[in-house]
Amino acid sequence: MIQAILVFNNHGKPRLVRFYQRFVKEIQQQIVRETFHLVLKRDDNICNFLEGGSLIGGSDYKLIYRHYATLYFVFCVDSSESELGILDLIQVFVETLDKCFENVCELDLIFHMDKVHYILQEVVMGGMVLETNMNEIVAQIEAQNRLEKSEGGLSAAPARAVSAVKNINLPEIPRNINIGDLNIKVPNLSQFV
């Protein structure tokens, strides 16, 4: 099973973070930082398998990574996955990104984070490999894109929703939301423009 998929750039900024196991957000950030430091030390012509990274689990886990230009793609897997197979999968994922974005670069991952997630969702689901054939994956993504286009895309969002977000004034949000026997306490957030 794949436990996490991380993509970050040469300075350690995360570009895609997907955990298939629950971690608190501070631990998540710590894992990303630690993985970055481990992977940064590696030269380009040594092997792509790393054991270690104490945070993300016990001794069964290893990190399999690939370095493309400015990005590191890291998959944290356990011993039920074949190492060379996962290396292959990273390649398939990157090639799919390339096909869907046409000469993909880091900016695409920054500005179209949601699309990258949708592509990843067709490759790996719930920590297990869903599809390894690039053509299949691309076909599914294109079908969903067509569906989205036919619905008018995001620009057709209800005007109310857009103006609601624009006019959001946080201090006016109720402190407590009580629905039936649900009791949600709304945290105190600072003003944001």
Binding site: C47, L84, E148, L182
Partner: protein
């Protein structure tokens, strides 16, 4: 992703998930998959929404719901939705079947009682006409079997058939890994596997598959290791193939080859010994992980004749080694190799003492106590060299000011303790 908490928006996310348009629904489920977890209060509000989406006429709505659910399924959600997902396993579209089969694993993890009713259907999916669904079913059963191998031994014949008939590399790799996990429990299974695995090894061109086959053959042979001579051919074949892997210029293959060799080493050390030259070559590699693996292998390859030569080579590495972890690793290994099986391979203890003294000159090591323990051990047990040992120790103590002046509080102080003890205990040899 950047570390900002969005749990306050949980309810809004649910509202977006219930949008009728696919575009918005997709966004809602994505946000949910990134932020919902078992502690989210409002997660039970999603049950009905997900149920509606699972029975939606549009396959992409269902797909998006399944994908999102796989990331935040809780025991309650699993219990409520298990039946719906089970019906989806027989959906007309293979896209949905694939996803439904894969999510069943997560559902089983959270709500184990759902395994029993769903299992017959899961078994059916192993013979599904669509290769994607078949591979998803293999994936799920392999994961389940790894957790609990005994219950799945009965499926072995079915997997055997799949292994011999399938051409999809991923499926084959999973099945072969599964057999590797099952063979310790059922030696007869291992015997039957040797032949098809050997055939696969000869016929495949995919390195990943080759590696997994070799690994499983090794596992089989370890479980059968009651010394059956006719398996030496298989061992030879494995070692030969591993040698090809290690000689490859691709670092990854080298690493994996060395990893597998060390497994063979534990039960069949003789077969590995003929490749000593290759392993020694790997010690010179630029890649630290490969050097560490080669070190592990060396442990089993020493003999009385080559011990000194190997240790000499390791000492040159110790001098060259940059980082202290690698150096420490080398040090521990040198000591391990020399002291294994009660110093079986050492012919000249005086030489060993001089090696230990040389090791004390290393800066910043954490293993001073190891060197100290070795010195004490040898001095006490080998009467003949006590005189030599004492002379070396007193020389060491004389140069103690050199050792003590190093700024790091490292384990070298322990060596001084050992040196002083030896000189004191065997003071009759002091000049």
């Amino acid at each position: 992703m950047l570390g900002y908490d969005i749990s306050w928006a949980a309810f809004n996310i649910i509202e977006v998930m219930s949008a009728s348009k696919f575009t918005f629904k997709r966004i809602g489920y994505l946000a949910a998959s990134q932020s919902f977890h078992e502690g989210t209060d409002v997660i039970m509000l999603t049950t009905n929404q997900i149920r509606k989406d699972l029975s939606s006429p549009s396959q992409y709505d269902t797909g998006v719901a399944l994908t999102g659910l796989s990331c935040f399924v809780t025991p309650d959600l699993a219990r409520d939705l298990a039946n719906d997902i089970m019906t989806l396993m027989s959906h007309t579209k293979p896209y949905i079947r694939k996803k439904a089969v894969l999510i069943m694993y997560k559902v089983f993890l959270k709500y184990p009682e759902s395994l029993r009713p769903a299992f017959p259907r899961l078994k059916e999916k192993l013979e599904d006409p669509d290769p994607g669904v078949q591979s998803a079913a293999v994936n799920v059963i392999c994961e389940l079997a790894r957790r609990n191998p005994k219950n799945y031994l009965s499926l072995a014949p079915l997997f055997f058939k799949l292994m011999t008939s399938s051409t999809n590399n991923w499926v084959l790799i999973k099945i072969i890994k599964l057999f590797g996990a099952l063979t310790p429990l059922e030696p007869r299974l291992g015997k039957k596997l040797i032949e098809p695995l050997t055939n696969l090894i000869h016929s495949t061109s995919a390195m990943s598959l080759l590696y997994e086959c070799v690994n499983t053959v090794i596992a089989v042979l370890i479980s059968l290791s009651s010394g059956m001579p006719n398996h030496s051919a298989s061992i030879q074949l494995c070692v030969q193939k591993l040698r090809i892997l290690i000689e490859d210029s691709d670092q990854n293959l080298k690493y994996l080859g060395l990893l597998a060799m060390s497994k063979i080493l534990k039960t069949h050390p003789k077969s590995v010994q003929s490749h000593k030259d290759l392993i020694l070559q790997c010690l010179d590699d630029k890649d630290e992980s490969i050097r560490l693996r080669a070190l592990d292998l060396l442990y089993g390859m020493v003999s009385k004749k080559n011990l000194m030569e190997i240790v000499k080579k390791l000492m040159t590495h110790v001098d060259k080694a940059e980082g202290t972890t690698y150096r420490d690793e080398l040090l521990t290994k040198i000591i391990d190799i020399c002291s294994q099986s009660n110093y079986q391979y050492i012919t000249n203890f005086e030489w060993y003492i001089s090696i230990l003294v040389e090791l004390t000159r290393l800066e910043g090591t954490r293993h001073g106590h190891l060197i100290a323990a070795q010195m004490l051990d040898v001095a006490i047990r080998v009467k003949a060299i006590r005189k030599f040992a004492v002379s070396q120790m007193s020389a060491l103590l004389d140069s103690a000011h050199l050792l003590a002046s190093s700024t790091q509080r490292n384990g070298i102080c322990e060596v001084l303790y050992a040196a002083a003890w030896i000189c004191g205990e065997f003071s009759e040899h002091l000049q």
